[in-house]
């Protein structure tokens, strides 16, 4: 099974990032940024994604629909409950980054499942927080994970790295997922990269609908 990190926020030096990702054992990394990606001589695949950070949920929704056909991965930065709710109501969206204090309740988890929007659990948020904040953030993450598990909503364990040294190996992120209460098989499945592969097929124009593709 391939292993993908869906959310890396550093697009300053993709070559070094790809080198480090390869060392850590990733098959692919999704870089959320504006710059074009120049890949070095590594086997790790790099895909360009977009993170949308808007104040208004309506503008965010319009941007997601507009940018859908340009990027391999689209993520939304959740600012508050309303933003999270509207993001989870948008089926064009791939992944929601709920942020430090993002709350996911039962209704949101059901919406996520209905619209197949992944709820991200970012390790980077914990990594770059102070000791005081860390307990509070992790406690909220545990509550969110409980809602996600109860309603079997899709989720993703991501590094959310701000630099190459913010990356963590699949084994560490799996341990993080297990501490949150997910099963190992679910976690591996969430990192498998089928979202990106499907999106890339759509971008290439080969995809018609689930199960129907244009042949060579």
């Amino acid at each position: 099974m391939k292993l993908w990190d869906y959310c890396v926020r550093d697009d300053s030096n993709p070559k070094e990032l790809a080198g480090m990702a390869e060392k850590l054992g990733w098959n692919g990394v999704c870089i959320l940024g504006d710059k074009e990606i120049v890949k070095g001589r590594t086997e790790t695949e790099l895909v360009r994604g977009l993170v949308i950070d808007e104040k208004s949920p309506e503008i965010m929704k319009r941007r997601v629909i507009k940018e859908r056909k340009k990027f391999g991965m689209i993520a939304v930065e959740g600012r508050d409950d309303r933003m999270n709710r509207v993001a989870l109501e948008t089926p064009e969206l791939d992944i929601l980054l709920p942020g430090k204090d993002g709350r996911i309740d039962a209704v949101m988890a059901k919406l996520a499942k209905e619209n197949n929007v992944r709820i991200a659990f970012e390790f980077g948020v914990l990594l770059h927080s102070t000791l005081e904040e860390r307990g509070r953030i992790f406690s909220q993450m545990l509550k969110n994970a409980q809602s996600v598990k109860t309603f079997k909503a899709p989720f993703a364990i991501v590094s959310g790295a701000l630099s190459e040294f913010g990356l963590r190996s699949p084994s560490e992120l799996t341990a993080f997922g297990k501490v949150l209460g997910f099963d190992e098989s679910e976690i591996k499945k969430s990192m498998s990269g089928h979202v990106v592969e499907e999106n890339l097929k759509r971008l290439a124009g080969k995809w018609i609908r689930p199960g129907v593709e244009v042949g060579e």
Binding site: K23, F123, F165, L167, S169, S171, E172, A175, F176
Partner: protein, 113 residues
């Protein structure tokens, strides 16, 4: 006098082999200090005492920057998360990556080959 424990009362162990990725090589003491500090911060003093975490000095490889750590089987995931939460030792930015988890040092070394 050496105190003996009944074999059935012995705690099981897991050995974690880890590698430190950083710009500059680090000493065993620096890595040990950072690792134990991070584990205490993440698991608390009570969790730390239950997990029976020990760093093994003899097995530190300064060339490869690889080390060994032992803990109880239940606490493996928490120890991994604690090590992943280290992003800086001194001035050096680091990633500590757990390479493998084994039941004995011998099997861990065999897996390395």
């Amino acid at each position: 006098m050496k105190l003996k424990r009944l074999p059935t009362m012995k705690e099981k162990k897991r050995y974690l082999t880890f590698r430190v990725h950083s710009d500059s090589p680090l000493s065993y003491d620096d890595v040990k200090g950072a690792a134990l500090n991070s584990i205490i911060n993440w698991m608390g003093e009570k969790g730390f005492s239950h997990s029976n975490v020990k760093m093994i000095r003899n097995l530190w490889n300064s060339g490869k920057q690889e080390g060994w750590l032992s803990c109880t089987p239940k606490s493996v995931d928490d120890v991994k998360v604690s090590l992943a939460l280290i992003h800086q030792i001194g001035d050096a930015k680091v990633i500590i990556r757990v390479l493998r988890v084994s039941g004995t040092i011998k099997s861990g070394k065999e897996k390395t080959r």
